[in-house]
């Protein structure tokens, strides 16, 4: 049991020492996760809103596909994106394999269905007549959707939190697409796996604690905003 305690103490010391290596890994983690969450928000929120309010053929099937997407195994997404970006793959010309851009692409594929499905559910909780009422007041389609989204902003924020949570803690896809290359594509999750495999438990614990702290801080910030708005309403 001592090695756990020692690892814990050494891990905290490592954080306090502001190790540049660890700082680089943290920066890369934040860069990939925040960027991919933002892209997923720009795709998922409008898409979820449109699917929720519009009537079109095969709507139920589209909803089922998106809901299935919420449970996509990251390792499968990683494999798929790696094959697409590989030298003989259809997207090889992008040159994104083992780059942060490739990792962002993989994480967008993981986060977008989560944000789309939760945004869709949020919009479906709003009476469709509210959307129609906005149209009859002279709103264009996007103006009406924007007013509707503002009505369910707390639920949309929950969708963003869930989307971010799904990518910051994800390891399979970034490992396969990014390759865990030092100073280039190494992120907190892949570094933690690597250090654990190498028996460097103190570094692994330090990385794990930082990951936990980041997730906690970002979630607490978003939750604080959400609850403040909820209280105001």
């Amino acid at each position: 049991m001592d090695f756990i305690y020692d690892g814990f103490i050494k891990g905290i010391a490592l954080i306090l020492s502001r190790d540049p290596e660890i700082a680089g890994v943290v920066r890369m983690s934040l860069y990939v996760s925040v960027f991919s969450t933002l892209i997923a928000v720009f795709i998922g929120v409008p898409l979820g809103a449109v699917i929720a309010v519009k009537k079109f053929p095969l709507k139920k099937i589209v909803i089922s596909v998106i809901n299935t997407g919420m449970g996509l195994p990251p390792v499968v997404v990683g494999l798929l994106v790696m094959l697409l970006l590989a030298r003989s793959g259809p997207l090889a010309f992008l040159g994104w394999l083992y780059t942060p851009a490739g990792m962002v692409l993989a994480q967008v594929i993981i986060a977008a269905p989560v944000i789309t499905a939760l945004s869709m559910a949020a919009m479906q909780s709003l009476d469709r007549k509210f959307y129609l009422q906005m149209l009859t007041l002279g709103a264009g389609q996007w103006q009406a959707l924007w007013v509707c989204l503002k009505e369910v902003k707390l639920s949309i924020l929950a969708a963003v939190i869930a989307g971010f949570g799904s990518v910051i803690s994800e390891v399979g896809a970034v490992m396969m697409v990014g390759g865990n290359i030092r100073h280039q594509t190494r992120v907190l999750t892949t570094a933690t796996v690597m250090e654990t495999q190498m028996g460097n438990f103190d570094t692994a614990i330090a990385l794990g604690l930082i990951l936990l702290a980041i997730t906690f801080l970002i979630n607490i910030a978003l939750t604080f905003i959400q609850q403040r708005r909820a209280a105001a309403e």
């Binding site: 007549k129 509210f130 009422q133 009859t136 002279g138 103006q143 309403e233």
Partner: protein, 352 residues
């Protein structure tokens, strides 16, 4: 303002609405009435361009409303109030200026004018979620009129309000629509509301337009038994025109002969319709210009909202509306023998 022809709407529920023709003149108040499931809201949704139309023509303000290119422009020339007021989050003021924002127009006093007009100036900064039902309706009306729409569509707009609040809002609504010559299309199940507001009434039932005319015409001269039934013509007697002198038709109904002013001809099979308020009840026949007197037995005297409904069996069932004072003064009770009388001009014939 609105012309509609050959309209066909088919809903996924299997319900279909077919309206051969309908015209709403500029500045008039047009009420759609009918029982539940008649298709009133579906028709109103079609006028608001919210309903997919399978076939037909719809012109609003002379423009082809079925062209997608005209949709936004036409929607911005009208307002639609659902039965429940859907207010957005934020203050009353933010809600009222919403249609202006959608049009990219700055508020240059329109919102303040609406706040005054609908008597909600004191609620200007109140959160829309903290309003009473009546206040929400007023905010919703102010928001609907802030852009000076040429056409306003209302779907049972005040059904959730108590009688007093309803009366007050209807008065304000009438004032503004008359002053601005706004065309109003109203869906209602409340016949008193329809009578109070409408210049023209259209009766819908089972997805078909049964009659469109002035309220007086519809209530006194329903075009069919279904319309008669809906507008409260409770005495409907089947018969045949046996003779005619000038416009006075004699209608044979079983043992009785009824006299009615009508354009029908001898031999026509008809329904004689008499409104309850046109029937008077007495112990004896008094000398008067009234041409129809029938002796019968009182079946029941049932209190209604403001009067009694007295049903009398005269060989056919006739319903009379009487005041409480008259029923009590005559001491009417089931089994009494009385005379039910009505004028030839008070009845109406529908050809079968």
């Amino acid at each position: 303002m609105i012309t509609l022809s050959g309209l066909v709407i088919e809903l996924s529920t299997g319900f279909s609405l077919r309206v051969d023709g309908l015209r709403v003149k500029k500045g008039e108040t047009f009420a759609l009435i009918g029982p539940n499931g008649a298709g009133k809201t579906t028709l109103l949704n079609a006028l608001a361009l919210l309903q997919e139309i399978k076939a037909g023509e719809l012109k609003i303000g002379g423009k082809d409303a079925l062209r997608k290119a005209h949709r936004l422009e036409l929607r911005r020339s009208m307002s639609y109030l659902f039965s429940r007021p859907y207010l957005a989050g934020g203050s009353v003021y933010e809600n009222i200026v919403l249609p202006l924002k959608f049009r990219g127009v700055k508020d240059s006093g329109q919102a303040a004018e609406m706040l005054e007009l609908f008597k909600i100036a004191h609620l200007r900064d109140r959160d829309s979620r903290q309003l009473s039902q009546g206040e929400r309706h007023r905010v919703s009306l102010a928001r609907a009129f802030v852009t000076r729409p040429k056409l306003v569509l209302l779907d049972e707009p005040f059904s959730s309000l108590d009688a007093r609040a309803k009366e007050s809002i209807i008065a304000d609504l009438s004032k503004i629509t008359k002053a601005r010559r706004t065309t109003l299309v109203l869906v209602t199940q409340d016949q008193e509301e329809a009578l109070a507001l409408a210049d023209t009434l259209a009766v819908l039932k089972g997805g078909r337009l049964l009659q469109s005319a002035t309220p007086q015409e519809i209530f006194s001269r329903p075009a069919s038994e279904e319309v008669a039934d809906f507008v409260g013509v409770e005495t409907v007697v089947p018969g045949e025109v046996t003779a005619k002198s000038d416009n006075l038709c004699s209608v044979r109904a079983g043992e009785n002969t009824l006299e009615v002013i009508s354009a029908c001809a001898p031999g026509d099979k008809v329904l004689v319709c008499v409104r309850p308020e046109a029937v008077s009840v007495s112990w004896t026949v008094e000398a008067s210009s009234v041409r129809n007197h029938f002796r019968g037995k009182v079946l029941a005297a049932v209190p209604r909202r403001l009067e009694y409904e007295v049903s009398i069996d005269c060989g056919f069932r006739i319903i009379a509306a009487m005041t409480r004072q008259s029923v009590e003064g005559m001491r009417l009770k089931p089994g009494d023998e009385v005379y039910a009388s009505f004028k030839a001009t008070a009845a109406h014939l529908i050809k079968r």
